[in-house]
């Protein structure tokens, strides 16, 4: 039965083993990615309780119908109302979106020339360059941010350099400022921006540029009219790959940023670990996911289309 299936194969009969290939990872992801998410949603709709764990129970199946009744009766939007009433949360979201958006623009401005220059290099060198860009990406965020703590400290290498070059009179304060957060994000996410840009630019058909040149188009104009529009998929992929995680960034603002306004990742962390207010932490997380859902869906759509096209 199975041996001649592949010849016709629009709707193959799969063996038990083949079904497991789908079902095992499916079940794992459902149990440890989807279900936890639904639990966050439920807890964000629960009351805070002074107990261990600090919220009213998720689901009481033993109580049967009554349990289900009390499950729905227990749901409340109080936590969301609270988020709305305290400007701290609103400011935290705005700040996160602002920092992430501005960093993404900076990354694009810095990353595009690098990716473009990579495609101009000889083939052999390109492979090495890709590896050089990938390598720091796999070194932990924590260590790379720590490296910047070294550089940016008051009498650190950067201020010494600036003083030695006579660019400043007084050593400027870098740590605990928004500038440090931008430096940290741009530094950490640069590989995420360069790689997708490089991938699209590298596939670009050279003959299009030659055609433009033959028709008398100056090189800068050809770059603007041909290269830039054709690299749009790379720009979108890179921007999303940087923007989405940057919004929820925790390590960078925590170690490099100031304490005046927290980014949303820090707010979730504080609500959870310091204030032990799990329902509020969950509500903050749910709102964050809602904010990110559109970019995440675009990202998935792009990735899947990329895979199919290949």
């Amino acid at each position: 039965m199975t041996s001649d299936v592949h010849k016709t194969a629009p709707k193959p009969q799969r063996s038990f083993v083949a079904k497991l290939v789908v079902r095992i990872p499916y079940a794992w992801l459902a149990a440890f990615f989807l279900v936890p998410f639904l639990i966050v949603l439920k807890i964000s709709l629960s009351q805070t309780a002074i107990a261990q764990p600090p919220y009213t129970p998720v689901f009481d199946l033993a109580a049967g119908w009554r349990g289900i009744e009390s499950f729905f009766a227990g749901l409340s939007l109080d936590n969301y109302a609270f988020l709305g009433s305290d400007p701290l949360y609103f400011l935290s979201y705005v700040k996160s979106l602002e920092i992430a958006a501005l960093s993404t623009v900076m990354l694009l401005v810095i990353g595009y020339p690098i990716a473009y220059a990579m495609t101009r290099a000889p083939r052999r060198v390109q492979a090495v360059l890709v590896l050089l860009v990938v390598l720091p990406f796999w070194t932990s965020f924590l260590i790379r941010i720590y490296a910047w703590m070294n550089i940016l400290q008051h009498d650190g290498p950067l201020n010494r350099l600036l003083l030695a070059l006579d660019l400043v009179r007084e050593p400027p304060v870098w740590l605990s400022t928004n500038t440090a957060v931008y430096i940290g994000i741009v530094y950490s996410y640069l590989p995420f921006m360069v790689l997708p840009l490089y991938a699209t630019l590298e596939k670009l058909d050279e003959s299009l540029l030659e055609a433009a040149a033959d028709l008398g188009c100056p090189r800068w104009k050809a770059f603007w009219l041909v290269t830039v529009p054709l690299s749009a998929p790379g720009v979108i992929a890179g921007a999303l790959l940087c923007f989405i995680p940057a919004v929820g960034e925790f390590v960078i603002p925590d170690l490099l940023g100031g304490s005046r306004t927290a980014m949303i990742g820090q707010t979730i962390w504080t609500e959870f670990f310091a204030n032990k207010d799990w329902p509020i932490a969950s509500a903050v997380a749910v709102v964050l996911v809602c904010l990110l859902v559109t970019p995440i869906v675009i990202f998935q759509h792009q990735t899947m289309r990329g895979v199919k096209r290949d």
């Binding site: 095992i24 440890f32 807890i43 810095i110 473009y116 050089l132 796999w138 999303l240 929820g248």
Partner: protein, 266 residues
């Protein structure tokens, strides 16, 4: 063939310098004899020797290695299955949700992944510790594995599999004797990357860990919050060296994989 223009060359040099200079400075400072991090006191391996006597730090490093070993292995198996399902199974019921669950964790803020995992473990009343961190890391890393192996399977020369099946091999046998050996380097590479991811993770581990399972990044984080110290410079330098070696090895393996049986051979 092509020559780099001065502008492009300068861009590349500055770009690479920007990426590497902070790490180089970190490593150089880790060999600084002076206790004051910013005052240069000559070369010394003093801080590395100091680390050898730091029992809690070594303990945390050992836990991190064990977590990374188990999580990377589990993630590789699950991620490879997921990649095969995505690439070779066409349209099956729930494929869209399946793909979504693979791509979403790649960009999901870690704080949310960590929080949701923790709430799951609390809801089902599991004691948090070594195994909860392993499960969390496996889930995160399996998505990366799936994407890498999937990319390899997509540009796989299908005629090799077709030949095996035409000669009467069952799909399972074809996979084991033809497909698997050819994608093995990609699988090995993704194992190493999963290992590096797990070894590096701070946020998800902080949420899902429990008493007695303090991983190395959690330990480092609690130290560096207090400021820069020479011991931390040394620990971080060692981690950079370990992860750097793993990634270079992984990329060489991927190259090997591409050289064997890619579509370019035809």
């Amino acid at each position: 063939m092509r020559k780099l223009s001065a502008f492009n060359l300068a861009t590349l040099v500055i770009g690479i310098a920007f990426l590497y200079l902070p790490i180089v400075i970190l490593i150089v400072y880790s060999f600084n004899a002076s206790r004051l991090v910013v005052v240069w006191g000559g070369w010394s391996t003093h801080w590395y020797a100091e680390l050898a006597g730091d029992a809690p730090l070594l303990g945390a490093a050992f836990i991190s290695l064990r977590v990374a070993l188990v999580a990377a292995s589990a993630a590789t198996v699950l991620g490879t299955l997921a990649a095969v399902a995505l690439v070779r199974f066409g349209r099956f019921r729930g494929r869209l949700l399946f793909a979504a669950m693979i791509y979403a964790p790649l960009v999901m803020p870690e704080v949310i992944t960590g929080l949701s995992m923790l709430l799951l473990f609390v809801a089902i009343a599991v004691d948090r510790g070594f195994w909860t961190v392993v499960i969390a890391h496996t889930t995160m890393a399996l998505c990366f594995v799936a994407v890498i192996v999937q990319a390899r399977l997509v540009d796989f020369d299908m005629s090799l599999e077709e030949a095996a099946m035409d000669l009467g091999a069952s799909p399972a046998r074809t996979f084991m004797t033809v497909t698997l050996p050819l994608i093995l380097p990609a699988i090995a590479a993704s194992w190493m990357l999963a290992f590096a991811l797990s070894l590096d993770d701070l946020v998800i581990a902080s949420f899902t860990t429990g008493p007695g399972a303090t991983t190395l990044p959690i330990r480092i984080y609690s130290e560096v919050r207090l400021g820069v110290s020479p011991e931390m410079n040394a620990v971080c330098s060692i981690m950079v060296a370990v992860v750097g070696t793993a990634v270079v090895a992984a990329s060489l393996l991927t190259k090997l994989s591409a050289a064997r049986g890619g579509p370019a051979r035809a």
